[in-house]
Amino acid sequence: MKKGIILLICILLFLSLSTFSSADEQKVKVTVDIANMRVKPSLQADVIGKLPMNTEITVISKMGDWYQVKLPPDPSGIVITGYLHQSVVAEVTVQAAPAFTPPPPPPASAKKTKKTAAPPPPAPTRTASIPTYAPAAAAAVTWPKFGIFARGGYGGNGIAAAGGITYTVMKFLAIELAGGYFSINEEGDTTDPNALLEGKLTTIPLQFSLLFRFEMDKIAPYIGGGVGYYLNSYEIESTITDAWNALGFTIEDAVDPGLGYHAGAGLDFLLSGNLAVNLDFKYILLNPDGTWTITDQISTTSATGDLADLNFSTFTVALGIKFFF
């Protein structure tokens, strides 16, 4: 048991180091109907997996007639290594960066000639309990589908924050539901009777987004867009309201809640199997309706009107984390 743990640690350490040397990896392809993957380079060793024909698998090293290979990580991130006999596989040419171009494999005919004399591997004995790996499982990293996130940054002209959930619906497509907060300081325009007075908009956006994600080994950039319902609140600069209040008037510029639209891009960077860093850019198109109201506290005379051409469109930039399940 202790030996197994040490071996596992060694394997993980090896694999983690090898993660960053993928440029010169070598692959072999299964050439028989079923190839047994063994725990040791011995035909007597236990079979730990059965690989169907044409499965491509990464070679860790070559030991005599045996290839030490590794399987893609399972959903929990565990990478399994084992041994395939050279008689059941053929080497595959891998396009790699010029600096790391591996030496060309020996002529297949020569190897084949040599290998034909080798005894065929024995038939597996415990096939029922041994997993079978499909060719698709050969991707470098499988991103979890469901995650939660929290991020903060700059939006409008102040602090922006958001949190929510994300779910990968299918390849390249994910949805995101988010709630957040940002504020915008408005300079106001007293020359336009339908414009806002100087003040501050605070809004809580409830956003739904469709993201086109391009999941790679550890990085998943995305672009996307969506619609949001914005719970807006506007407060006129207090010095203005105080001056009017002193003369017996209540004034209010109200920005209605309403729909807004957004588009943007971002990037998830996987720190571990469950945790990723998220960087998110959005442009929010927000043109809500609004009303102004002035009330004379003495006579209760009140006037109201529509605010026109309100435009709170803005960028948000936020950095956060995502935790996947």
Partner: protein, 576 residues
């Protein structure tokens, strides 16, 4: 003996002094120094009436026919009657006649006036303001298309004085404007002399101007300039319109234009005599007020300065001699006039009928009362009278006007010509440019169209003490409504009338021999109009809502509740 001589001398001095004090003009009349142009007195048929020519105009026509054109023009000038060259300015009231072929419509009046050598200056509905030679006046009146011919009605500038009071408007000036659409305030007045020199300082840098006078002369008086100064002081960012007129016909056209230009507030420090309404808030000028208010605006009008120049009373004639008694034993109503200042006395009685938009011609008794002018307090020589014919289109009023060569004491009588219902008769007398009114009655002295229910009518109080200014006209109206609606400061400083100083005593104050401020309801009115302009300029309230804001911030004055001296209270824009 010596002692007796001394005693007699003293008695003589005292007697002569008393005569000079109490009967100054009697002495002068007896001295052949008659204060009036004697032309009227020379006329043989002073009391002659013309069925279609108003009496004052008819008197001028008689001077022309019995003397000369120059003489008639001289008389007319003293009575503030206009001549354009040798033609007199009149208003021909059209009598819409059916066309000869029986078709509906009327025979156009303009070519008929032109055929008589006259010219139509401007018209409004059935009123044709024209200039025509006196030689053709009878021919004009004889036209079947002419109902009657009269002199144009003219407004009076209500300049008495001015005052300054802090209404709290200054607290508003620094406010951030709250969704205001801007404010447009029109000063509708007699003239705006000198306004150009005040642009950018006492007035906004730019103003809209328009003259509806026949001569297009905007600068005929400084009165409107001073009013505009006050509106600008109150509402510095409001857009101002300076519009003037000279006659009732021009007034109608001016108000129609003001409405078309979208003005929200009219500041109206003008007033009309009793020839334009019974004091119940109706009449042709009142229709202009109503039209403006119906357009969504607020008409701010002066209450008038007649509280001390007015008499009101019921019919009383104990000796049944046909002469009205103004007080017990008093059939001659005494007053005094200034030298070389045209004076006017209006008589009005309560037989006008209901106003139908064109005429007062329903439910009338068709009573006919006249007015006679005498040369002294309590009687004296009969000078001339007002003998208008009250009929279908001739309303229940009479006017006497004239001028004197020096200070004079006069009196008038009111005489019955015909009245089938004398027991219900009520009378109003108003004296313009007169003083020393013998029996002043402040009640009911509101000047037209301040009696209009559509007018926000303004009385005057002192800017420093908030005390009632005794000249400020009082209600009620003849139909029992309280007027004024509001009071505002008078006695403020303007560039036009000078700094607010204590008024000089006595007669000097009335002549304004030195500038000492702008008094009168003329000064009070633009404060209220300016306050409305200020609210409109600072808020998104409509003009009617701005009026509500003003009326709910008034500081109550005088008797509890609304009263006929102060209205509902004094103008205040603060939060108290």
């Amino acid at each position: 003996m010596k002692k007796n001589i001394k005693k007699i001398t003293w008695i003589s001095f005292i007697a002569i002094g008393a005569l000079l004090i109490f009967f100054p003009n009697k002495a002068r009349v007896q001295n052949e120094d008659f204060p009036f142009d004697p032309s009227f007195a020379q006329l043989k048929n002073l009391d002659e009436r013309h069925p279609k020519i108003d009496h004052m105009l008819y008197m001028i026509l008689q001077v022309y026919e019995n003397s000369s054109l120059e003489h008639a023009k001289k008389i007319a000038k003293g009575m503030d009657v206009d001549f354009v060259g040798d033609d007199i300015r009149v208003v021909a009231v059209e009598n819409r006649m059916p066309l000869p072929n029986g078709a509906k419509g009327s025979i156009p009046l303009t070519p008929q006036i032109q055929a008589l050598g006259g010219a139509v200056e401007t018209s409004y509905k059935d009123l044709y303001q024209s200039t025509i030679g006196l030689y053709a006046l009878r021919s004009l009146s004889d036209l079947p298309s002419v109902g009657h011919v009269r002199l144009p009605y003219k407004p009076r500038e209500l300049v008495v004085s001015e005052g300054v009071q802090n209404t709290g408007a200054g607290d508003w000036h620094s406010l951030t404007s709250y969704h205001s659409q801007g404010a447009k305030v029109c000063i509708l007045d007699g003239g705006f002399t000198g306004y150009g020199a005040l642009l950018g300082t006492e007035l906004p840098s730019t103003v809209e101007t328009r003259s509806f006078r026949a001569d297009n002369n905007l600068e005929t008086s400084v009165h409107g300039t001073a009013c505009a100064e006050i509106v600008h002081d109150m509402a510095p960012d409001a857009q101002l319109g300076l519009v003037n007129f000279g006659t009732d016909v021009e007034h109608h056209n001016a108000v129609a234009w003001i409405i078309s230009e979208g003005y929200q507030v009219v500041s109206y420090s003008m007033g009309w005599g009793y020839s334009l309404g019974p004091g119940t808030g109706s009449g042709p000028i009142h229709d202009d007020v109503e039209d403006f208010v119906d357009s969504g605006g607020v008409w701010v009008g002066a209450a008038g300065n007649s509280a001390e120049d007015h008499w009101q009373g019921n019919f009383s004639d104990p000796d049944s001699d046909g002469r009205l008694n103004f007080a017990v034993g008093s059939e001659w109503f005494g007053f005094r006039v200034y030298p070389f200042v045209p004076f006017i006395i209006w008589l009005r009685w309560n037989d006008w009928g209901d106003w139908n938009g064109t005429n007062f011609n329903t439910s009338r008794d068709y009573s006919d009362w006249d007015m006679r002018l005498y040369s002294a307090y309590g009687g004296g020589a009969y000078l001339w009278g007002a003998f208008g014919v009250q009929g279908q289109n001739r309303w229940a009023y009479e006017i006497i006007s004239g001028w004197a060569n020096f200070y004079a004491s006069l009196s008038v009588t009111v005489n019955r010509w015909w009245d089938p219902n004398v027991g219900t008769r009520e009378f109003d007398l108003e004296f313009w440019n007169c003083y020393g009114i013998e029996h002043p009655v402040a009640a009911g002295s509101v000047t037209l169209p301040g009696d209009s229910p559509d007018s926000l009518t303004v009385g005057a109080i002192d800017h420093a003490t908030n005390a009632y200014h005794t000249y400020s006209s009082q209600g009620p109206t003849d139909d029992g409504r309280i007027k004024p609606d509001i009071c505002a400061p008078a006695g403020v400083s303007t560039n036009t009338y000078g700094p607010a100083l204590a008024a000089p005593p006595g007669l000097l104050s009335l002549f304004q021999l030195r500038p000492y401020g702008f008094y009168g309801t003329s000064a009070a009115t633009p404060h209220v109009a300016g306050a409305l302009g200020l609210i409109l300029d600072k808020t998104g309230f409509s003009p009617i809502q701005a009026k509500d804001v003003v009326l709910n911030r008034l500081i109550e004055m005088g008797a509890a509740g609304k009263d006929n001296m102060f209205g509902a209270g004094r103008l205040n824009l603060r939060n108290n």
